[in-house]
């Protein structure tokens, strides 16, 4: 330990300042001890840091990707559903509107229009022969109600559903 006796003397004689015996030796030990402790803590944190941070980062990335995928999926299905609803809403009023306007303008009246609508739209869509449909209607006039129901059911089952 190098100390300068003149420095102490100067401060003591001029300013009246004193220090405890062995003060600088003790202070040096305290400083070095503090630094050693700090270094140990730093090392511990460093070794603790690496794998913990890596794992934490991986987990965060994983969760992030899952969350992102979920958002994209939700967005897609939402868009699809929205599109379906829009299509349906666009279709229904058009059909009903057309039907209503035509019923007002045509002499055949609503019954004729319904038949026409069924033939042109539903039967064509389901690729049912128009003649079969007319036969079924004629048969229905000649048959009992229960038989008509049965015939219609069979017709629907065989032609439309299947």
């Amino acid at each position: 330990m190098k100390t300068d006796p003149n420095l102490h003397k100067k401060h003591k004689s001029d300013l009246g300042y004193d220090i405890p015996d062995g003060f600088f030796k003790d202070t040096k030990a305290t400083i070095l001890e503090t630094i050693k402790e700090e270094k140990t803590v730093e090392k511990k944190i460093f070794f603790l840091k690496k794998p913990v941070y890596q794992i934490a980062a991986s987990v965060i990335v994983l969760f992030g990707m899952m969350f992102l995928y979920k958002i994209i999926e939700t967005n897609n299905s939402t868009v699809e559903i929205e599109q379906k609803i829009v299509n349906q809403v666009e279709e229904v009023p058009n059909t009903m509107e057309d039907l209503y306007i035509e019923s007002l303008m045509s002499e055949e009246g609503l019954d004729g229009l319904v038949d026409n609508y069924i033939i042109t739209n539903i039967l064509e869509e389901t690729k049912v022969n128009v003649e079969d449909y007319e036969d079924m209607i004629i048969d229905s006039f000649l048959s009992e109600d229960s038989e008509v129901d049965e015939q219609i059911n069979q017709f629907i089952m065989s032609e439309i559903v299947l």
Partner: protein, 182 residues
């Protein structure tokens, strides 16, 4: 930076020699830094705490030292800043005005266990308590720490001309007051 500073810094920045060279650095400078701090914070207990903080800051900051000044000046600047920070912190807690700071200078001095001033020494302290904090610090750095005006300027960030003016003002005040009292 001189050759000795470069050698010490090289060893301080090397992980293998860091602790040993830091112990050497403490041996070389702690006494000078202690007296520098003591004159600013006044009591021994405060000076001890500030000295420890100073060396811890030096240890942490040695990698950031760019070598624009000498190692010695750089360490003094850290010690000075730590002391000022301590004073400012305590000022808020203890003092209400600048007059209070100067009144407190003598009161704090008398309360210190490691102050044993006789009449002559007390007279000097009374005179020093009558000048501003900055003037007192400049005078003490020049007169007791034996620092040049250039070094004091680097430490305090005050222009050399201002420092010279402050120093000679305090010297004149001391001379005048001592002559009057005799």
């Amino acid at each position: 930076m001189n050759q000795s500073d470069i050698e010490i810094l090289t060893r301080l920045r090397d992980e293998k020699t860091r602790e040993d060279s830091f112990a050497e650095l403490i041996d070389l400078y702690q006494e000078r830094l202690y007296w520098h701090i003591r004159k600013i914070v006044i009591t021994h207990d405060n000076a001890r705490d500030v000295l420890q903080n100073t060396f811890i800051r030096i240890y942490r900051g040695v990698h950031t030292f760019k070598g624009n000044s000498s190692l010695y000046t750089w360490m003094f600047r850290i010690a000075y800043n730590e002391s000022i920070r301590f004073i400012e912190k305590n000022k808020k807690e203890m003092y209400h005005s600048i007059d209070d700071v100067n009144t407190n200078y003598l009161r704090t001095l008398k309360q210190d266990t490691y102050f044993d001033g006789n009449e002559v020494q007390m007279r000097l302290h009374r005179i020093l308590s009558g000048v501003t904090e900055k003037q007192r610090q400049v005078f003490q750095m020049k007169y007791y720490d034996d620092l040049s005006f250039k070094q004091i300027s680097e430490i305090t960030n005050i222009a050399e001309s201002t420092l010279k003016s402050s120093y000679y003002t305090v010297v004149k005040i001391i001379e005048k007051k001592i002559t009057l009292e005799l």
